[in-house]
Amino acid sequence: MALQSYASPLEKLWHYTYLVLCGLIFLFLIAPILIVIPLSFNSQPYFTFTKEMLALDPTGYSTRWYDLLLTFGMNAPDVPRDSSWWSDAWNNANWIKAMKNSVIIGVFSTILATVLGTVAALGLSKPDMPYRRPIMAILISPMIVPIIITATGLFFFYSDIGISKWSIFGWEIPYLGVILAHATLGIPFVIITVTATLVGFDHSLTRAAANLGANPRTTFFKIIMPLILPGVISGALFAFVTSFDEVVVVLFIGGLDEQTIPRQMWNGIREQISPAILSVATILVIISTLLLATVELLRRRSEKLRGITPH
């Protein structure tokens, strides 16, 4: 936004005040997220910058809290770090176990949400879809209903049907309740991103494909899928992040051994907050930065594919 050449001195003053204000608001947005990064390298168990840190003294910094992420919960953390130490960490460290659980729950709930959500979004985008508005309202509602209400409802429902004891061929499916719940929470994101990609989708393309002899399956995989793929992947990433960050449902319906990263963080924050939390937070910030970059690239690609030039 350039300042017009005819601006009066007062307007110039206001313009620069405005820019400073905007700078401060951007600082308010980003500073709390960046502040955890230097603090996670604190060599002292404090949540503030020590004198050494401010003086950029190397002794003020350490990676001890990242080390703690690996060693906390291990059987023998103090032996030399050979392959048996690493396998001990991989199998027993609490944070690594939590990470594995989070990834398993996240991946399966994402697959479920993405497949069901994409198919439904295709239907919802058809001009002939009946009862479009109420159905859309129902499908988006998991995003709107407060998480505590969802968790409360699921708590009663899952304990009534005894979902933790469900099994296929004698194999109890682990995390089933949490996976289903997280899939439900991720669905609105998939619906929103995929229907957004389908806006302006040229339906004559599918007709052209059919005209040229393609059956519906070929049309879907060769014509529709490549066009909506960026939206589907963004939706899947949103769904994964939703699951990866969800704590209330896990607290309410997850078993004691279903420890996930957010749940472990939640416990850590509530009981005794240690800088180890900050090192986890830093890792999560890096992950979210990567995800954001991916989604932005996908969005641009999708716009290019569909021939929408950014306005």
């Binding site: 820019l19 603090l39 058809k126 499908l139 988006i140 505590i148 969802t150 930065t289 950014p310």
Partner: protein, 431 residues
């Protein structure tokens, strides 16, 4: 479509001899069915894993069989309890002084309770209506077998509290599994001994206060997000795209960052030994002795939630502001308007739909917030969701939790409906 179908009514047929109108209707019905079948699996999934559980929870807010049925957790057998007393309540109307027959029925039921080892759970149900009743039940059930007629005197000997007319009113109300008592309690009301609705004692009025606080805090947060979002959304919308895309990262990165991470960050910043206080003490603005308490109170909740919900305000504002044609403002200026008038009369009215969309979304999300108030809210910064969680996990008064949740849900659904009406769910955008 409707026009073309009416125009075909002149006897045209398809190649296989069907009237064109009929063929079209058939084709449209098939295409509608196809679209619907694509959505059906997901719709069923959401109905079963989301709508059904919430409906079931709503039912729990008016249903509590703690005083009518005993669920044996080991054998999974349900036994009706307090049957004799329930019969007496059926035969005698509200207001009839409990007579010897009533006390005899009560003692018989207490003996049965003791046999089932259930006086605790039955007493808990009465406790919800009249605090202190649980111990009354456990104590009386312990001695019930040894009591002899006349039972009224015998029971009053155990505790004079058995005579309390309010207790009898609560037992009468609880002897039916369906009750509206939890909704009454959720708005700080109760039934007195005669069955009339009255306010609860002053020191027990917590729920209405908390609903009001939740509303006020959410309104304040909505207003603050608007105040902060408007200037930056305007800047983003008027900058050339290559700069605004870069600056957009400042909005989208918080949006993508874990909620727990953002809350943790605010805890670090706001603590009395935290970064902000340290910085102010270090630079001499503040004396070491009077560090500001910014966390574990309302201030903490408001600051952290404003930050967390800010992107939900910026994004709808941005998407409304971006297409606004700058020449309108320029035209106003050239016609003699000051920059303030041009903004007030020309620019601002065009952004109102974005303000509405953002404000509704932020308000809906704020009203039901749980995690952030739970972590930084302390005692006076908690919201209604935290109380629901308290009843779910600590007091185990599940019907109360369900009643509070239903009231919250009703409010949210009205706002959601409004959002759909005014903005349209299709226009919900994520980055």
């Amino acid at each position: 479509m409707a026009d073309s179908t009416t125009n075909t009514d002149i006897g045209l047929t398809t190649a296989d001899g069907k009237p064109l109108k009929q063929a079209l209707a058939y084709a449209q019905a098939r295409s509608r069915r196809r679209a619907f079948f694509l959505v059906l699996p997901l719709l069923l999934f959401v109905l079963v894993t989301f709508i059904l559980p919430i409906g079931q929870m709503l039912q729990r807010s008016v249903f509590n069989d703690g005083f009518t049925t005993h669920h044996d957790l080991g054998t999974r057998v349900d036994t009706p309890i307090m049957v004799n007393l329930a019969t007496w309540f059926d035969e005698n109307e509200l207001g009839v002084e409990p007579d010897e027959a009533a006390y005899a029925a009560l003692v018989t039921d207490l003996i049965e309770l003791k046999r089932l080892r259930a006086p605790g759970s039955a007493g808990t149900r009465i406790n919800y209506g009249l605090a202190g009743s649980r111990s009354l039940f456990t104590k009386a059930a312990r001695k019930a077998e040894k009591l002899e007629a006349p039972f009224k005197e015998a029971l009053l000997d155990v505790s004079a509290k058995w005579e309390n007319p309010k207790l009898w009113q609560v037992m009468r109300s609880a002897s039916s599994s369906y009750t509206g008592a939890f909704y009454l309690a959720a708005v700080d009301r109760t039934q007195d001994a005669a069955g009339d609705i009255e306010q609860v004692e002053e020191n027990r009025r917590v729920y209405v206060k908390l609903f009001v606080r939740t509303l006020l805090v959410s309104l304040l947060i909505t207003f603050l997000t608007f105040l902060l979002a408007y200037p930056i959304a305007h800047l983003l919308a008027t900058l050339p795209l290559r700069y605004s895309n870069l600056l957009m990262i400042f909005v989208l990165l918080p949006f993508w960052t874990s909620l727990l991470v953002r809350t943790t960050s605010w805890m670090i910043l706001l603590q009395s030994q935290g970064v902000l206080n340290d910085a102010m003490v270090g630079t001499g603005i503040l004396d070491d002795a009077d560090r500001i308490q910014m966390m574990y109170n309302k201030t903490g909740t408001i600051i952290a939630m404003t930050h967390i919900l800010l992107p939900f305000m910026v994004l709808p504002l941005y998407s409304v502001m971006r297409p606004i044609n700058p020449s309108y403002v320029r035209a106003a200026r050239s016609l003699g308007a000051t920059s303030w008038t041009a903004f007030r009369r020309i620019y601002f009215p065009q952004t109102v739909p974005g303000i509405g969309a953002g404000a509704l979304l932020v308000f809906i999300l704020a009203v039901g917030y749980y995690i952030t108030p739970a972590l930084v809210g302390g005692a006076d910064g908690t919201l209604i969701s935290n109380l629901i969680a308290f009843h779910m996990t600590k007091s185990l008064n599940w019907s109360m939790a369900a009643a509070l949740a239903s009231l919250l849900l009703a409010g949210i659904l009205i706002l959601y409906w409004l959002y759909d009406r005014l903005v349209g769910i299709d226009n919900l955008k994520l980055g």
